[in-house]
Amino acid sequence: MSALLDLQRRFRAALLGGADAAPPPEVLGGLVDAAARLAIYRGNVIGNLTGALRLTYPAIERLVGAAFFAAACARFAVATPPDSADLYEYGAGFAAFLEDFEPARTLPYLADVARLEFAVTRALHAPLVPALDAAALAAVPAAAEDGLRFLPHPSLSLLDLAHPAPAIWEAVLTEEPDLRAARLGAIDLDAGGAQLAVLRGAKGPALLALSPAAFALAGALAGGTPLGEALDRVAAAEAASCLGLLLTQGLFAGCRAPGGPTHSEGTIP
Protein backbone atom coordinates (compact mmCIF):
# COMPACT_ATOMS: atom_id res chain seq x y z
CA MET A 1 0.00 0.00 0.00
CA SER A 2 1.31 3.45 -0.82
CA ALA A 3 2.21 5.69 2.08
CA LEU A 4 -0.28 8.34 0.93
CA LEU A 5 -3.17 5.85 0.72
CA ASP A 6 -2.26 4.53 4.15
CA LEU A 7 -2.24 8.05 5.60
CA GLN A 8 -5.57 8.86 3.95
CA ARG A 9 -7.16 5.75 5.40
CA ARG A 10 -5.90 6.42 8.90
CA PHE A 11 -7.02 10.03 8.68
CA ARG A 12 -10.46 8.94 7.49
CA ALA A 13 -10.79 6.43 10.34
CA ALA A 14 -9.86 9.14 12.87
CA LEU A 15 -12.29 11.56 11.21
CA LEU A 16 -15.25 9.18 11.40
CA GLY A 17 -14.21 7.50 14.63
CA GLY A 18 -16.02 9.85 16.99
CA ALA A 19 -14.71 12.29 19.57
CA ASP A 20 -12.43 9.72 21.19
CA ALA A 21 -10.55 8.72 18.03
CA ALA A 22 -6.88 9.67 18.25
CA PRO A 23 -5.46 11.77 15.40
CA PRO A 24 -2.76 10.15 13.25
CA PRO A 25 0.76 11.25 14.32
CA GLU A 26 1.05 13.26 11.08
CA VAL A 27 -1.52 15.75 12.43
CA LEU A 28 0.69 18.21 14.31
CA GLY A 29 -0.22 20.25 17.30
CA GLY A 30 0.51 23.93 17.75
CA LEU A 31 -1.52 26.70 19.37
CA VAL A 32 -4.36 24.19 19.11
CA ASP A 33 -3.47 20.59 19.90
CA ALA A 34 -3.80 17.82 17.31
CA ALA A 35 -6.98 16.29 18.76
CA ALA A 36 -8.73 19.67 18.74
CA ARG A 37 -7.61 20.32 15.16
CA LEU A 38 -9.04 16.99 14.10
CA ALA A 39 -12.26 17.78 15.98
CA ILE A 40 -12.68 20.99 13.98
CA TYR A 41 -12.11 19.07 10.77
CA ARG A 42 -14.61 16.44 11.90
CA GLY A 43 -17.14 19.12 12.74
CA ASN A 44 -16.79 20.64 9.28
CA VAL A 45 -17.28 17.31 7.54
CA ILE A 46 -20.38 16.50 9.57
CA GLY A 47 -21.68 20.06 9.17
CA ASN A 48 -21.22 19.89 5.42
CA LEU A 49 -22.98 16.54 5.09
CA THR A 50 -25.76 17.74 7.39
CA GLY A 51 -26.18 20.72 5.07
CA ALA A 52 -26.56 18.39 2.08
CA LEU A 53 -29.13 16.28 3.95
CA ARG A 54 -31.03 19.40 5.01
CA LEU A 55 -31.47 20.30 1.34
CA THR A 56 -32.79 16.84 0.52
CA TYR A 57 -35.00 16.34 3.60
CA PRO A 58 -36.67 19.68 4.50
CA ALA A 59 -39.89 17.95 5.59
CA ILE A 60 -38.03 15.63 7.98
CA GLU A 61 -36.26 18.61 9.53
CA ARG A 62 -39.57 20.41 10.06
CA LEU A 63 -41.20 17.31 11.52
CA VAL A 64 -38.52 16.60 14.14
CA GLY A 65 -37.04 20.08 14.69
CA ALA A 66 -33.57 21.42 13.88
CA ALA A 67 -31.75 20.01 16.95
CA PHE A 68 -33.07 16.48 16.50
CA PHE A 69 -32.40 16.64 12.76
CA ALA A 70 -28.79 17.79 13.25
CA ALA A 71 -28.11 15.05 15.79
CA ALA A 72 -29.66 12.37 13.55
CA CYS A 73 -27.65 13.64 10.56
CA ALA A 74 -24.40 13.63 12.56
CA ARG A 75 -24.89 9.98 13.42
CA PHE A 76 -25.95 9.07 9.90
CA ALA A 77 -22.99 10.93 8.37
CA VAL A 78 -20.47 9.09 10.53
CA ALA A 79 -22.11 5.70 9.87
CA THR A 80 -22.73 6.35 6.15
CA PRO A 81 -20.17 8.69 4.60
CA PRO A 82 -20.84 9.57 0.93
CA ASP A 83 -19.66 7.13 -1.70
CA SER A 84 -19.86 9.76 -4.45
CA ALA A 85 -18.26 13.20 -4.63
CA ASP A 86 -21.62 14.50 -5.89
CA LEU A 87 -23.62 15.34 -2.78
CA TYR A 88 -26.85 15.45 -4.81
CA GLU A 89 -26.67 11.66 -4.60
CA TYR A 90 -26.05 11.64 -0.85
CA GLY A 91 -28.55 10.35 1.67
CA ALA A 92 -30.23 7.43 -0.11
CA GLY A 93 -29.99 5.34 3.05
CA PHE A 94 -31.39 8.00 5.39
CA ALA A 95 -34.91 6.47 5.40
CA ALA A 96 -33.59 3.06 6.45
CA PHE A 97 -31.42 4.77 9.08
CA LEU A 98 -34.44 6.62 10.53
CA GLU A 99 -36.43 3.39 10.61
CA ASP A 100 -33.91 1.91 13.07
CA PHE A 101 -33.11 5.16 14.89
CA GLU A 102 -34.29 4.59 18.44
CA PRO A 103 -35.11 8.26 19.29
CA ALA A 104 -37.39 8.39 16.19
CA ARG A 105 -39.39 5.34 17.18
CA THR A 106 -42.34 7.48 18.29
CA LEU A 107 -42.75 8.65 14.67
CA PRO A 108 -43.32 5.47 12.66
CA TYR A 109 -44.18 7.42 9.49
CA LEU A 110 -40.86 9.29 9.40
CA ALA A 111 -39.03 6.77 7.19
CA ASP A 112 -41.82 6.86 4.59
CA VAL A 113 -41.68 10.67 4.44
CA ALA A 114 -37.91 10.39 3.94
CA ARG A 115 -38.40 7.89 1.09
CA LEU A 116 -40.79 10.33 -0.56
CA GLU A 117 -38.37 13.24 -0.12
CA PHE A 118 -35.49 11.34 -1.67
CA ALA A 119 -37.70 10.44 -4.64
CA VAL A 120 -38.76 14.09 -5.05
CA THR A 121 -35.14 15.25 -4.94
CA ARG A 122 -34.24 12.63 -7.52
CA ALA A 123 -37.10 13.77 -9.76
CA LEU A 124 -35.96 17.39 -9.42
CA HIS A 125 -32.34 16.65 -10.30
CA ALA A 126 -32.50 13.76 -12.78
CA PRO A 127 -31.14 14.41 -16.29
CA LEU A 128 -33.61 15.99 -18.70
CA VAL A 129 -34.53 12.99 -20.82
CA PRO A 130 -37.65 12.95 -22.98
CA ALA A 131 -40.26 10.32 -22.14
CA LEU A 132 -40.87 7.42 -24.51
CA ASP A 133 -43.21 8.50 -27.29
CA ALA A 134 -46.09 6.16 -28.03
CA ALA A 135 -45.27 6.56 -31.73
CA ALA A 136 -41.95 4.76 -31.16
CA LEU A 137 -43.92 1.77 -29.86
CA ALA A 138 -46.08 1.62 -32.96
CA ALA A 139 -42.88 0.95 -34.91
CA VAL A 140 -42.00 -2.16 -32.88
CA PRO A 141 -42.35 -5.28 -35.08
CA ALA A 142 -45.14 -7.65 -33.99
CA ALA A 143 -42.76 -10.55 -33.36
CA ALA A 144 -40.77 -8.44 -30.89
CA GLU A 145 -43.66 -7.23 -28.73
CA ASP A 146 -43.71 -10.09 -26.24
CA GLY A 147 -40.02 -9.67 -25.45
CA LEU A 148 -40.05 -5.86 -25.44
CA ARG A 149 -38.20 -4.30 -22.50
CA PHE A 150 -38.69 -0.79 -21.15
CA LEU A 151 -36.11 1.63 -19.77
CA PRO A 152 -37.36 3.46 -16.68
CA HIS A 153 -37.16 7.25 -16.88
CA PRO A 154 -34.11 8.46 -14.86
CA SER A 155 -36.36 10.61 -12.68
CA LEU A 156 -38.65 7.69 -11.74
CA SER A 157 -38.99 6.19 -8.26
CA LEU A 158 -41.67 3.65 -7.33
CA LEU A 159 -42.65 3.82 -3.67
CA ASP A 160 -44.75 1.37 -1.67
CA LEU A 161 -45.58 3.39 1.44
CA ALA A 162 -47.32 2.04 4.55
CA HIS A 163 -48.16 5.47 5.99
CA PRO A 164 -49.95 8.54 4.54
CA ALA A 165 -46.58 10.15 3.78
CA PRO A 166 -47.73 12.35 0.84
CA ALA A 167 -50.32 14.13 3.02
CA ILE A 168 -47.79 14.62 5.84
CA TRP A 169 -45.15 15.86 3.38
CA GLU A 170 -47.45 18.35 1.70
CA ALA A 171 -48.78 19.64 5.03
CA VAL A 172 -45.44 20.12 6.75
CA LEU A 173 -43.92 21.97 3.77
CA THR A 174 -46.79 24.46 3.64
CA GLU A 175 -45.24 27.88 4.32
CA GLU A 176 -48.26 29.69 5.75
CA PRO A 177 -48.29 28.78 9.48
CA ASP A 178 -52.07 28.68 10.08
CA LEU A 179 -52.68 26.64 6.94
CA ARG A 180 -49.81 24.34 7.87
CA ALA A 181 -51.23 23.74 11.35
CA ALA A 182 -54.68 23.08 9.86
CA ARG A 183 -53.32 20.62 7.31
CA LEU A 184 -51.20 18.84 9.92
CA GLY A 185 -54.20 18.62 12.24
CA ALA A 186 -56.32 17.10 9.47
CA ILE A 187 -53.95 14.20 8.87
CA ASP A 188 -55.31 10.76 9.68
CA LEU A 189 -52.35 8.55 10.53
CA ASP A 190 -54.53 5.47 10.12
CA ALA A 191 -55.49 6.45 6.58
CA GLY A 192 -53.13 3.84 5.17
CA GLY A 193 -50.33 4.12 2.68
CA ALA A 194 -49.99 4.65 -1.02
CA GLN A 195 -48.31 3.12 -4.01
CA LEU A 196 -46.71 5.99 -5.85
CA ALA A 197 -44.75 6.75 -8.95
CA VAL A 198 -42.65 9.88 -8.38
CA LEU A 199 -41.10 11.43 -11.46
CA ARG A 200 -40.52 14.70 -13.24
CA GLY A 201 -43.59 15.71 -15.20
CA ALA A 202 -43.80 18.50 -17.74
CA LYS A 203 -44.31 21.11 -15.02
CA GLY A 204 -42.23 19.81 -12.13
CA PRO A 205 -42.17 16.75 -9.90
CA ALA A 206 -45.30 14.60 -10.10
CA LEU A 207 -46.67 12.20 -7.48
CA LEU A 208 -48.92 9.65 -9.16
CA ALA A 209 -50.99 7.34 -6.98
CA LEU A 210 -51.15 4.02 -8.81
CA SER A 211 -53.64 1.17 -8.47
CA PRO A 212 -52.13 -2.10 -7.20
CA ALA A 213 -52.24 -3.50 -10.76
CA ALA A 214 -50.58 -0.45 -12.33
CA PHE A 215 -47.96 -0.40 -9.55
CA ALA A 216 -47.16 -4.09 -10.09
CA LEU A 217 -46.86 -3.59 -13.85
CA ALA A 218 -44.70 -0.49 -13.42
CA GLY A 219 -42.40 -2.34 -11.01
CA ALA A 220 -42.01 -5.31 -13.34
CA LEU A 221 -41.35 -3.22 -16.44
CA ALA A 222 -39.02 -0.78 -14.67
CA GLY A 223 -37.11 -3.78 -13.32
CA GLY A 224 -36.43 -5.02 -16.86
CA THR A 225 -39.06 -7.76 -17.11
CA PRO A 226 -40.13 -8.29 -20.74
CA LEU A 227 -43.63 -7.03 -21.64
CA GLY A 228 -45.30 -10.44 -22.08
CA GLU A 229 -44.06 -11.73 -18.73
CA ALA A 230 -44.91 -8.46 -16.97
CA LEU A 231 -48.48 -8.55 -18.32
CA ASP A 232 -48.91 -12.02 -16.79
CA ARG A 233 -48.83 -10.34 -13.38
CA VAL A 234 -51.85 -8.16 -14.15
CA ALA A 235 -55.50 -9.17 -14.69
CA ALA A 236 -56.17 -9.27 -18.45
CA ALA A 237 -59.04 -6.79 -18.19
CA GLU A 238 -56.79 -4.16 -16.59
CA ALA A 239 -53.67 -4.71 -18.67
CA ALA A 240 -54.26 -2.22 -21.49
CA SER A 241 -55.50 0.60 -19.26
CA CYS A 242 -52.57 0.12 -16.85
CA LEU A 243 -49.95 0.11 -19.61
CA GLY A 244 -51.65 3.05 -21.34
CA LEU A 245 -51.52 5.04 -18.08
CA LEU A 246 -47.83 4.30 -17.52
CA LEU A 247 -47.00 5.36 -21.09
CA THR A 248 -49.12 8.51 -20.94
CA GLN A 249 -47.52 9.57 -17.66
CA GLY A 250 -44.02 9.16 -19.06
CA LEU A 251 -42.66 6.48 -16.73
CA PHE A 252 -40.36 5.16 -19.42
CA ALA A 253 -37.56 6.77 -21.38
CA GLY A 254 -37.07 4.08 -23.99
CA CYS A 255 -37.71 0.52 -25.06
CA ARG A 256 -35.68 -2.24 -26.61
CA ALA A 257 -36.84 -5.15 -28.75
CA PRO A 258 -34.96 -8.44 -28.25
CA GLY A 259 -31.67 -8.12 -30.10
CA GLY A 260 -32.62 -4.71 -31.42
CA PRO A 261 -31.40 -1.17 -30.76
CA THR A 262 -32.83 0.96 -27.98
CA HIS A 263 -35.58 3.32 -29.05
CA SER A 264 -35.40 6.37 -26.94
CA GLU A 265 -36.40 9.14 -29.29
CA GLY A 266 -39.44 10.78 -27.83
CA THR A 267 -41.03 14.08 -27.09
CA ILE A 268 -41.24 15.83 -23.75
CA PRO A 269 -44.85 15.23 -22.71
Binding site: A70, G204, A239
Partner: protein, 107 residues
Amino acid sequence: MDRRIFAASVLAAAVGMAGVAGMTAAPASAAMMTKEQMMQVRQANKTRAMAEHLQKCYGINAIARNDCAAGAHSCAGQATVARDPASFVLLPTGDCSKIAGGSLKAS
Protein backbone atom coordinates in the same frame (compact mmCIF):
# COMPACT_ATOMS: atom_id res chain seq x y z
CA MET B 1 -55.21 -16.45 -25.79
CA ASP B 2 -51.64 -16.88 -26.95
CA ARG B 3 -49.38 -14.64 -24.85
CA ARG B 4 -47.66 -13.09 -27.83
CA ILE B 5 -50.99 -12.07 -29.37
CA PHE B 6 -52.15 -10.82 -25.97
CA ALA B 7 -49.06 -8.65 -25.56
CA ALA B 8 -49.59 -7.26 -29.07
CA SER B 9 -53.24 -6.42 -28.46
CA VAL B 10 -52.53 -4.82 -25.08
CA LEU B 11 -49.71 -2.78 -26.58
CA ALA B 12 -51.90 -1.63 -29.48
CA ALA B 13 -54.69 -0.61 -27.10
CA ALA B 14 -52.24 1.14 -24.75
CA VAL B 15 -50.54 3.03 -27.57
CA GLY B 16 -53.99 4.09 -28.78
CA MET B 17 -54.82 5.39 -25.31
CA ALA B 18 -51.53 7.24 -24.98
CA GLY B 19 -52.03 8.81 -28.42
CA VAL B 20 -55.53 10.02 -27.61
CA ALA B 21 -54.39 11.43 -24.28
CA GLY B 22 -51.60 13.29 -26.07
CA MET B 23 -54.10 14.95 -28.39
CA THR B 24 -56.32 16.23 -25.59
CA ALA B 25 -53.27 17.89 -24.07
CA ALA B 26 -52.79 20.05 -27.16
CA PRO B 27 -53.57 23.75 -26.70
CA ALA B 28 -57.19 24.71 -27.31
CA SER B 29 -57.55 26.79 -30.43
CA ALA B 30 -61.20 27.78 -30.03
CA ALA B 31 -61.90 31.06 -28.32
CA MET B 32 -64.39 29.48 -25.95
CA MET B 33 -63.09 27.18 -23.27
CA THR B 34 -65.11 24.20 -22.28
CA LYS B 35 -65.61 23.45 -18.63
CA GLU B 36 -63.15 20.59 -18.97
CA GLN B 37 -60.48 22.85 -20.45
CA MET B 38 -60.94 25.35 -17.63
CA MET B 39 -60.40 22.53 -15.16
CA GLN B 40 -57.24 21.60 -17.03
CA VAL B 41 -55.91 25.17 -16.85
CA ARG B 42 -56.72 25.33 -13.16
CA GLN B 43 -54.94 22.03 -12.60
CA ALA B 44 -51.92 23.26 -14.59
CA ASN B 45 -51.73 26.42 -12.44
CA LYS B 46 -51.92 24.34 -9.30
CA THR B 47 -49.17 22.06 -10.57
CA ARG B 48 -46.95 25.02 -11.43
CA ALA B 49 -47.49 26.60 -8.01
CA MET B 50 -46.55 23.27 -6.42
CA ALA B 51 -43.42 23.03 -8.55
CA GLU B 52 -42.32 26.55 -7.59
CA HIS B 53 -43.02 25.82 -3.95
CA LEU B 54 -40.93 22.66 -4.14
CA GLN B 55 -38.06 24.52 -5.74
CA LYS B 56 -38.10 26.85 -2.76
CA CYS B 57 -38.37 24.08 -0.17
CA TYR B 58 -35.62 22.04 -1.77
CA GLY B 59 -33.38 25.04 -2.44
CA ILE B 60 -33.11 24.17 -6.12
CA ASN B 61 -31.93 27.48 -7.49
CA ALA B 62 -30.42 28.93 -4.36
CA ILE B 63 -27.82 26.49 -3.16
CA ALA B 64 -25.60 23.80 -4.59
CA ARG B 65 -24.85 20.99 -2.17
CA ASN B 66 -21.21 20.77 -3.10
CA ASP B 67 -20.56 24.42 -2.30
CA CYS B 68 -19.48 23.40 1.19
CA ALA B 69 -21.24 26.26 2.99
CA ALA B 70 -20.46 24.76 6.38
CA GLY B 71 -16.94 23.81 5.42
CA ALA B 72 -15.76 27.32 4.64
CA HIS B 73 -14.73 28.28 8.17
CA SER B 74 -13.16 26.33 10.95
CA CYS B 75 -15.55 28.01 13.38
CA ALA B 76 -18.43 26.26 11.62
CA GLY B 77 -16.80 22.97 12.51
CA GLN B 78 -16.55 23.93 16.14
CA ALA B 79 -20.20 24.99 16.16
CA THR B 80 -21.24 21.62 14.79
CA VAL B 81 -19.37 19.80 17.50
CA ALA B 82 -20.94 21.97 20.18
CA ARG B 83 -24.40 21.27 18.80
CA ASP B 84 -24.15 17.49 18.80
CA PRO B 85 -26.22 16.57 21.83
CA ALA B 86 -24.79 13.13 22.33
CA SER B 87 -25.15 13.28 26.08
CA PHE B 88 -28.92 13.78 26.45
CA VAL B 89 -32.00 11.95 25.30
CA LEU B 90 -33.20 13.19 21.94
CA LEU B 91 -36.85 14.09 21.48
CA PRO B 92 -38.47 15.24 18.25
CA THR B 93 -39.55 18.84 18.82
CA GLY B 94 -40.82 19.98 15.42
CA ASP B 95 -44.16 20.07 13.67
CA CYS B 96 -44.74 16.37 14.33
CA SER B 97 -46.48 17.43 17.53
CA LYS B 98 -49.19 19.13 15.44
CA ILE B 99 -50.24 15.85 13.85
CA ALA B 100 -53.18 14.55 15.88
CA GLY B 101 -52.17 11.55 17.97
CA GLY B 102 -49.02 11.25 15.98
CA SER B 103 -46.03 11.76 18.15
CA LEU B 104 -44.26 12.25 21.41
CA LYS B 105 -46.20 9.44 23.00
CA ALA B 106 -43.94 7.11 24.88
CA SER B 107 -44.44 3.74 23.31
